[in-house]
Amino acid sequence: MDSEPRKMKPIWYFVGLMLLAMGAVVAASGIYHYLNPGTVKTVLADLHPDLWWGAVMIIAGAIFLLVNRKVTVD
């Protein structure tokens, strides 16, 4: 049996990873749509919601990741 204390990464670390990864995909998609505007047919597409929302997710994910990068919990 392992008698050492079992330390694991906190959930906030995984939240940061997920937001960063998904935000990057959304933002990349937004850049593509910005450069190829004819490919988007949704309402309010001219506002490029994917571009700025992806950026918001990247920033939020990066904050979670940085704050928790060295944190472990029982």
Partner: protein
């Protein structure tokens, strides 16, 4: 509706979610060694982790599709589910009830009934809860299939079975711990994946004020944008209900019955690392709960405006003659989200349904294993055997959920169905718990027969109205009433009958000795000491702030 063709970026996001969920499950599996780890996540969680999981366990199909659809159907009165229908009960749980739950070191809510009353009351509630949980789990499955069908054009049957298989694989990985982790992932996905719908809806229509104005213009005789000012006369509001039904049925019985006794949510607080964290769990969750209407209620009102403006081309789906209210949110996602964001929206919904179902199943496997299997069928089961049984119960529970999902599909609005179930089980249970925790002379026989009478009367009333043995107004005390109003009133009567029968039977039956009730009943239990704890660290301080905010919201939208 023509199904949406997902782009590569959409599939990538959906794939990322599954990689994260399964990856977390495998990662946590090494930390899930004992039954305590599997069923109670090792009791090590902070109040933030337990609090977000507490909220997210409730934030499944019910909250997303059901509430948006119900806002389209009933108007802003649906916000009562989030404010008076949730916050007071959550605060009451944190301040008054959690010390009894947490300090007695029970593993489930029926486990408390065993300590406070007796085995038969525990088994009665355990069976009722298990049945209810599987029914609700079926709703989650139905909602998942709806999303897959609406967005991807998948066959209903295939959608349900694929969803069920996915959840079964995910829940069996590492029990409650992975369920809680993925519930928190789900919480962030829902906000980042769906709040943008509200923002874009506001931008398209102009402002929140313009949305309210246009809804008012559409429904001049019946209010869809107020909370209380039209509640004196049921014919003046979209839910067709009086304030009495809201306060007694929803605000008191259904709300307290669900938030203080439903093991699905309370189990998250049991996983907290200490009593303070357990008490803070529902209090912290209350702040996030009261914010959810800014997704679901707002999008429901936006859907009303768009659906009544022919120039927008927006219309809800129809199943034959019936409007499919639950399609409102998926259709708004399809309206606003380009490729990439569509994947995020679909993932947010999937995460909500999967985590909601996982929550139901993790609660079911605990109650089945401890309160039915170990209690009745195998009293000498070893720890390893109980762990194995928990995993078996997970798979069997998912299979039964599939059957109930087909039943749920026949109802026009899934929220009505959910409330009907809660009024059968949770409403009378709240009377039992309230009396059990706060009145020491309530007896085991009083609790058992009261609970049985409450549950039986609620179910009988449901059948009586459904098959027109009695007129609805006999139960609702008003000349007109919606299905939702009937649910509220049925819950109230079930609670009252349970409350009365429990007291009457207790007057004539044998009490438990006081020394067996220490730690379980107010008056025989030392109060929670806050000596030396600064005021800003006390749960009561945050509960007061939460209460003030919810009062302000009700006044603002009066």
């Amino acid at each position: 509706m023509q199904s949406i063709e997902l782009a590569f970026s959409d599939w990538l996001i959906i794939g990322l979610y599954f990689v994260f969920v399964l990856g977390i499950g495998f990662y946590l599996k090494r930390y899930t060694k004992s039954e305590n780890d599997f069923f109670l996540a090792g009791r090590k969680n902070s109040s933030w982790v337990a609090g977000l999981a507490f909220l997210s366990a409730n934030l499944g199909a019910l909250e997303l599709l059901g509430m948006t659809g119900n806002t389209f159907k009933y108007g802003m009165y649906v916000a009562h589910f989030y404010w008076i229908g949730a916050i007071p009960a959550m605060l009451f749980l944190g301040i008054y009830m959690m010390p009894f739950y947490y300090s007695s070191k029970i593993k489930s809510v029926p486990g408390y009934l065993k300590l406070r009353f007796d085995e038969k009351t525990r088994v009665l509630n355990g069976i009722a809860f298990a049945v209810m949980t599987l029914l609700v789990s079926g709703i989650n499955l139905y909602a998942m299939a709806l999303v897959l069908h609406t967005f991807l054009g998948w066959n209903w049957d295939i959608s349900m079975w694929i969803s069920a298989a996915t959840v079964a694989a995910y829940v069996t990985l590492s029990g409650l711990l992975s369920a809680i982790f993925t519930e928190i992932i789900q919480f962030f996905l829902i906000w980042f994946g769906l709040f943008l719908v509200s923002i874009l809806g506001i931008i398209e229509i102009g402002s929140i004020g313009e949305i309210f104005k246009r809804v008012d213009d559409l429904y001049q005789a019946v209010s869809y944008t107020t909370l209380w000012s039209t509640s004196a006369d049921p014919s003046l509001n979209g839910m067709v209900i009086t304030w009495g039904g809201i306060v007694l049925g929803l605000g008191f019985v259904l709300s307290f019955g669900y938030w203080t006794t439903d093991f699905l949510v309370v189990q998250r607080a049991f996983s907290a690392k200490d009593l303070r964290a357990a008490r803070m769990t529902p209090i912290l969750a209350s702040f996030f709960k009261m914010a959810v209407p800014f997704i679901v209620i707002l999008t429901g009102l936006i859907a009303i405006v768009l659906a009544n403006d022919k120039q927008t081309g927006f219309a809800l789906l129809r199943d034959g003659e019936q409007v499919n209210y639950d399609s409102a949110l998926p259709l708004l996602i399809a309206r606003y989200y380009p490729a990439g964001l569509v994947g995020l929206g679909v993932t947010a919904l999937l995460a909500g349904f999967m985590a909601g179902q996982a929550g139901n199943i993790s609660a079911f496997n605990t109650v089945w294993t401890y309160d039915i299997y170990q209690s009745v069928l195998n009293k000498k089961a070893s720890e390893a055997h109980l762990l194995w049984m928990g995993r078996v119960a997970t798979v069997v529970g998912i299979l039964i959920s599939v059957v109930t999902a087909y039943w749920a599909k026949s109802f026009p609005s899934i929220m009505d169905y959910m409330q009907a179930i809660f009024s059968w089980v949770n409403a009378p249970l709240f009377a039992t718990m309230l009396l059990g925790m706060f009145v020491k002379w309530i007896t085991p026989n009083g609790a058992f027969w009261g609970l049985l009478a409450g549950m039986g009367s609620s179910f009988t009333l449901f059948l009586a109205v459904k098959f027109e043995w009695i007129e609805t107004h006999v139960m609702t005390l008003s000349s007109v009433a919606s299905d939702m109003a009937a649910n509220f009133w049925r819950a109230w009567w079930a609670w009252l009958i349970c409350f009365a029968v429990t007291i009457v039977v207790s007057l004539f039956t044998k009490r438990k000795p006081d020394d067996e009730l220490v730690g379980l009943v107010r008056g025989l239990t030392p109060g929670v000491s806050t000596e030396g704890v600064p005021w800003h660290r006390r749960p009561e301080f945050y509960a007061i702030i939460s209460l003030m905010v919810v009062i302000a919201l009700n006044i603002y939208y009066w």
